[in-house]
Symmetry: C2
Subunit: 239 residues, 2 copies
Amino acid sequence: MNAQTILRLPTDPHISRARTTHTHRDGHGVPRNRLRFAPHEHLFFQGDPPTGVFQVVSGTVILYKLMADGRRQIQDFSSVGDFLALTFADVHNFSAEALTDVEVDFIVQASFDRALQENAAFRQGIFTLMGDMLNASREQALLLGRKCAMERTATFLLFLDSRFVDPVTGFVDIRMSRCDMADYVGLTLETVSRMMNQLKRQGIIELPQSNRIRISDRKRLIAAAGEPDEAEYASVVGY
Amino acid sequence: MNAQTILRLPTDPHISRARTTHTHRDGHGVPRNRLRFAPHEHLFFQGDPPTGVFQVVSGTVILYKLMADGRRQIQDFSSVGDFLALTFADVHNFSAEALTDVEVDFIVQASFDRALQENAAFRQGIFTLMGDMLNASREQALLLGRKCAMERTATFLLFLDSRFVDPVTGFVDIRMSRCDMADYVGLTLETVSRMMNQLKRQGIIELPQSNRIRISDRKRLIAAAGEPDEAEYASVVGY
DNA sequence: AGAACAGGTTGATTTGCCTCAATTCTATCT
DNA sequence: AGATAGAATTGAGGCAAATCAACCTGTTCT
């Protein structure tokens, strides 16, 4: 990771500039506070004690861990519907930062715990979500542990496409820097840039601007990702 | 990964040689079948449809994913008390193989689901376990994405120590090959061997036999793992 | 318009880990 | 004890990705 990231220790005080827009109850009667965060604001930091749970309403949040010397590993991108901070530990062990403008609902821990006890459907949803997060994390471990630079990059582009593609144009607006991408796939930003431009030169993706891509040859991109074939890939990503 | 692993496709038939020793009910009245597996037998394969849940009674099980060309990423080691195959998907997306002699209790899916619905304490335990698995997987992602060979190896030895140390002798019997270790930390077996022997030469660990270690200088091992200090490390591993 | 800046791309060089190969160690079998 | 086999260690060389550095592009500010 990278010079521009300010090293932040768990004990630093921090002032959340989140703005509460309104308070309401969801379909299960659980009270929620709608909050807004601007890009680069933190929902919470590694080391903070958890006070409740967030559900993303719009925008995307990155979850990451930092090493003492500033190396960063991004662990997940949370977007609409995802829950954050589902922890039973006494401190958060990763940080959550708004990548874009973000709206989230905050549910205080006691309300969340009550809903989990009393509402079977809610509970089932949380279980499924935790299972999905675990799968995603283990898929990332395979990528980080055993894939080469091109495979990592291609896999990541398929991931972006599956989650953020505009269904009418087929384009993905990449709302993150090369550095963010690199910190997810465990490479440097230069290597990510090289791999993307190589895919462009090979006619596998279109890259009209640096943060806008479209997959023009999905089969070859899947092959470049190290997946045996499309059917197999679909089962991995789950679409 | 490595020549000696036989590539196994999800569709291959397989005969489980597991032996049922007896059937009983646990404290919650959930029916369980006690099964035994010998080293290298599989509890299930990636691609199999899940039929229930396993809880490890003794021994250790490795969870891993395989790529089409045989590259392997080990994702977790399950030992006493751990649950396996907690999935809501229609197929397993990793394989589970006995590393040692293993005893597990098998709980059919319907019984498990019922216990989850009806028993709050059981449910809480499962939630906590899923949270722990997610934390472990994300910690592994940091290791794989951002740590160098020595840091990975040192981190792994600390992990082994925290889970498998003999409290009286202080030794850890490593019940896996260098290849298994390498496939967990995303290196080759040769690199793992080099790093371990380097730690031995530096007097940080004792290595009287290739599969038996003791940490003789924990502070330096923690430093080699890239953790800022012991307190921080303890909070990461959770002891 | 020009300056300043941030992000992205591209090139040259270095390096850490992998690969391939040889040797040693340990356990098992006869 | 000697033979054999599997695993671990050690060494030499190669290569993929990191590092370091220059340049380009687009945007904001004056």
